[in-house]
Symmetry: D2
Subunit: 418 residues, 4 copies
Amino acid sequence: MATVLAQPSSTHTPSLARRFTEIRNTTVGITEGLTAEDQMVQSMPDASPTKWHLAHTTWFFETFILEPYGDGYKPFDPRFRHLFNSYYKQLGSHPLRGTRGLMSRPTLPQVHAYRAHVDNALLAILEHAQEEVLKRVELGLHHEQQHQELLLTDLKHALWSNPLRPEPSTEMTDATAPSAMRWTEVDGGIHLIGHRGEGFAFDNESPQHQVLLQPFRIASRDVTNAEYLEFIEDGGYRRPELWLSDGWDTVSAQGWNAPLYWERCDDGGWWQFVRQGRKKVHPAEPVCHVSYFEADAYARWRGARLPSEQEWEVTAVRMPSSGTFLEDRIFHPQPAQGEGNQQMFGDVWVWTSSPYIAYPGFRPAAGFLGEYNGKFMCNQLVLRGGSCVTPRSHIRPTYRNFFPPHARWQFTGLRLAQ
Amino acid sequence: MATVLAQPSSTHTPSLARRFTEIRNTTVGITEGLTAEDQMVQSMPDASPTKWHLAHTTWFFETFILEPYGDGYKPFDPRFRHLFNSYYKQLGSHPLRGTRGLMSRPTLPQVHAYRAHVDNALLAILEHAQEEVLKRVELGLHHEQQHQELLLTDLKHALWSNPLRPEPSTEMTDATAPSAMRWTEVDGGIHLIGHRGEGFAFDNESPQHQVLLQPFRIASRDVTNAEYLEFIEDGGYRRPELWLSDGWDTVSAQGWNAPLYWERCDDGGWWQFVRQGRKKVHPAEPVCHVSYFEADAYARWRGARLPSEQEWEVTAVRMPSSGTFLEDRIFHPQPAQGEGNQQMFGDVWVWTSSPYIAYPGFRPAAGFLGEYNGKFMCNQLVLRGGSCVTPRSHIRPTYRNFFPPHARWQFTGLRLAQ
Amino acid sequence: MATVLAQPSSTHTPSLARRFTEIRNTTVGITEGLTAEDQMVQSMPDASPTKWHLAHTTWFFETFILEPYGDGYKPFDPRFRHLFNSYYKQLGSHPLRGTRGLMSRPTLPQVHAYRAHVDNALLAILEHAQEEVLKRVELGLHHEQQHQELLLTDLKHALWSNPLRPEPSTEMTDATAPSAMRWTEVDGGIHLIGHRGEGFAFDNESPQHQVLLQPFRIASRDVTNAEYLEFIEDGGYRRPELWLSDGWDTVSAQGWNAPLYWERCDDGGWWQFVRQGRKKVHPAEPVCHVSYFEADAYARWRGARLPSEQEWEVTAVRMPSSGTFLEDRIFHPQPAQGEGNQQMFGDVWVWTSSPYIAYPGFRPAAGFLGEYNGKFMCNQLVLRGGSCVTPRSHIRPTYRNFFPPHARWQFTGLRLAQ
Amino acid sequence: MATVLAQPSSTHTPSLARRFTEIRNTTVGITEGLTAEDQMVQSMPDASPTKWHLAHTTWFFETFILEPYGDGYKPFDPRFRHLFNSYYKQLGSHPLRGTRGLMSRPTLPQVHAYRAHVDNALLAILEHAQEEVLKRVELGLHHEQQHQELLLTDLKHALWSNPLRPEPSTEMTDATAPSAMRWTEVDGGIHLIGHRGEGFAFDNESPQHQVLLQPFRIASRDVTNAEYLEFIEDGGYRRPELWLSDGWDTVSAQGWNAPLYWERCDDGGWWQFVRQGRKKVHPAEPVCHVSYFEADAYARWRGARLPSEQEWEVTAVRMPSSGTFLEDRIFHPQPAQGEGNQQMFGDVWVWTSSPYIAYPGFRPAAGFLGEYNGKFMCNQLVLRGGSCVTPRSHIRPTYRNFFPPHARWQFTGLRLAQ
């Protein structure tokens, strides 16, 4: 496990217990107002029910910490070991991903009891925990924060999939007008990429290493809905020469003609579905819920390209950056405004042009924790920055998110480079 | 609509109101003990969630009676007209069948409120209802009874699909030993088939008509588990010459080697899943959850055949018949024992050799109610008799149930003929 | 095998040899003008390449006659036993049906050599053949005639599937104007159905048996293109209430809006593809290449229905009947014109309302020949009469052809009843 | 187009005509001995028929040179423009890829006539051709060489897919014993990658650019069959922890347990299918027909990894390298033996760890030729080196071949790095 955490710190035990409680409570907090039925929907195989997220994050602590290190720990229900395993092959079999919506049992109250059982046991051993346990708890908390975002993302899709979607909310505030887009010039040369070792990072952010970049230009902010609408109106979804071959096949097969969750109003404008209902597409907000295929086609149509993940990271690390956190604001109630490159963090994940592969010298963790990241390094693209549903403490410049190029139910947008 | 009900009776208004209340309450009664989550599972596209059955049966009364005849009736929620339409094309579109499990909303309490709203409105107009309304209420009640059986059948499949299946119950009583199977000889000649016109019947049971039958022999009772096990042990599932071509393709593709819900015990015997848990396969009980393909192959292996629906009906009408109602007994708490042909009613539906087609002179009802039966007359086989989850008052000798030949999640068995 | 042939005749050995040679030559004759490439196309899994038909019909004689009865017979190539088995499970495995188009080897000349090898061996043993051999040769010849029709039917589909379709032929003669459609009244009562035992018949045409029919009316001729066009123009393909449920699903999924092989001309009229090219849809010709779903919907739209197979047979046997043999005329160069019910034979196969099931008392032949007919008695409908590509000597009033309800690449049309 | 060819040379007109004739003749030469039927097989959607390759390469010259530049050129058949378009969307529609095996027409002789027609017209204009035409001819010849390899690769798969596979050849010579594998150390630092501009290169090999590499070690030769067998025997195909997640899904779904074309002998050894028949797997030959998933899993099992494309190229350019050209030797009759890194060229394509993306500053060619390479830059991995069926003059150190990670019908192997 040591290789997963770049620099473990053994002195933060008290704050770890406090953070454990806070983060675990946050997860439950974002399910407030949802019925047990809402929390059971699996609207597509890629998405998971809310209840499953609640249980799986608990399973992580039970399986990787309480079972090996919790002296005399008695599992809440031995069958959960199999039931809430997501994909760890070395732990044995797991249910087919697409059947998570069939689990009426355990019930939601039972899952909450499971959470309490594990939380109590974990807090008990945390007081006198050895180094390895602390590291694993830290990892488990970051794992839980990932699932907080996934939970919100999957829930949005679940509510949208129901013919009885939430009613429109009229209280939504408008986004402020975007600043004009400027190009930021960045010099070429040798840059340092990857996590430097202070604080937590996933194994895939290491080792830190040098890369040689050409000089490049990167946009001062993300592409807006208004800009993306020009692409739509110019026939962008009907012109094969703008698309990757796989992208065009997807557009044709799926009948895409706008980002996910958009639909035309009667007056010719566009609505978009948000978790609380629907609202008019605001021209100043960053475009969201586009796939890599769409991001790439848009950039080609503009005569630009997507930045590589290295270009994005160099920009984010070296420049004063801020986020405006427009749509959802679950984790970002006070949008930061500032100079510099806007929206590097916390509005939308931006697709980079970089396939998700290992950094030079990367070695996954030993044992089953090695299945966390490395085994997905194929047919995925790196996303950077974090979105409005990413917990703020979970965002950092070296963070590497990844999804396949057709995915668009995540909060994904783009930024141009040249 | 007049053609749907063979002989409407305008004098039973009081009893109709009482029966309406009874049958509606029965439906809710059989969902007792189930959580809202249990009632939302759709384990395969052919099956529907319990909550959907509760809503759809209500939709039937609202759409076909309250909307056209309920003076000033205000729909509970206008969107339900679309949402809980099962397949009536003339009523406009309906959600894809396979997405019924995504409907976290309306919630279960909302569906119960919907039921109460419709029940009250319907009872109010029933007092002074015209003939056509009475007929439609009668039809709606039989429709509801059909869904009581489907609800129990689908629920069994839902609970079985969950890795956390109900725990075995140890209280189950054994079936009594079966009588020896005898052949009943029936003379050939002209027989009368179909509903004679007293009491309710569906349109597909009419018109009553004459058929010319060859002399035949029919078994005195259904095929038992013990008899079916001989077929399994003789390699029945591995011998293509015993099967219809489509049947063999299904066996091969699905890997069938026993009835649905059966699994081998460690001691070489067999368990079967029942709604309350699992129990040993009892040799004396009628075999259940076999497809037409399996029923047909078994009969061929025995050197016999399945009866036609006419042969079955002639036997059931003319001979003293009884049911033993073994497994579930929801609707049949006191198994009737008697002479004559056992198990004609209320144990398992028996597959007949008859494809489901129209009787000579059949005309479906005018308007959307004509979509009730006739449009399914293709690629289905007729089943007769009713099962242990068929409401007793819903069973009659002329009743024609129908399913495609591969279906086996219904309570379906077989009886031999020669 | 005895049960397959209703009444074998042991005295026609000389004519059998002559007929054998004639029928085998006819098969090769209808492939004249086709390249080896044309003869290798498999345009869909349901259709087979011409070369495969040439080989499979030969395999039938080799497998069922020469191997068991050809004393000292040496197979042309032992691997062909597996290679050209169509579906006889008792003979072991066979290649997946959809891969027949991959068999570049054996080459066409090798298949012709295979035919010559088998023909010579078979003629040699025919001189002193025992009864069983004669019966099997007879069966093999009828099997070959079936494949002559399938070959032409599949070839039409293959040529149509090629973007370079044959050029239009301008020499096609028009059909004569159809007579007005009249209704023929037929009395009810007990009728005799099935093959009486003189001459060859397949096992599924026996045993002859009595049926009780209601009085009915049947059209004097098949439905014409002009009549079917009225259905199209009345929105027949867009009105779900006219269709069986499975039929409507098929129409929606496949985008059907006319019979197979039809396409609209620029002037709003319709072309149809025929094997030699394409020609204008002629209003007087019987409509062809419609599925059972379309035939059934058309009849419903007309306020009529399809005849049962018994009704059709009673009409064909008792009334003077004739065919006009319009489109293709491969086997019917001189269209017979006459009084009585036209087109009972040799224009298009007509869909009946009868699912394909066993006659009362039917027993399939023992051994692998029992796989010929009986195992397909599920999810198929009976067709009667024979088409313009059915060899004339292969047509008889009791013949039961069968296809699933969505099939329409066969030469299939319809006739109304009431 | 200018950007496609890094450095066009206008002075080699005579040799271009000669090379044109040679390369065009080579294509036809490798189809000798194949029947028209062999040349029509499409054994899977990814593979194309031989006849299609013959026509499509001709279509390239006709469409991109003769139509725009061949003054007064009359197309051989205007329908071919659509028919033999592979994927160029800007040229309009094209037939579905999976239907190429249905084209019995045009016949093989017609395709040969098409080739002659285009060859004559092209040679005629070549004498006084402008610069752009010369560049496009050069591109067309490299395109044709690519298809020579694809033709041989697809043909192997087609012959293997036929139950009547070619008989084993006994004349095959054994490979010589491999040298022991050594690690070659390469220094880190800044290296130059990409085509320098002399001679032909595809657009995706440019622009030449600097990269910063870490020090690395690379194997002196490819992984052999003997080495790969150790992986198989160690349960490599049954251990999920060795595989990428998508790889394991593929192994499970496809039932892979060895490279493509391998099958176990009765004595426990292994056969492999080669185009002329089958032969024993030779321990000293490089393993071939493995997917990226298998190459990656093998490397992980060995405690090593695959080289990046940059590492491979740096090794190939700077070190004395040679190929041994083991299996097929169509284009490499005299295997070169030498010191240095063996098998860099001409034995098997080696999978690199590099996803196929654009080089920094890459711009695809303008117009439809821009569809040649760039639009496939997604979900593919780079392969380097060329195989025994790659034309020798088509091999160069900067060449970037690419296939998706599950593909294994190409001649693909691997080399280890650390």
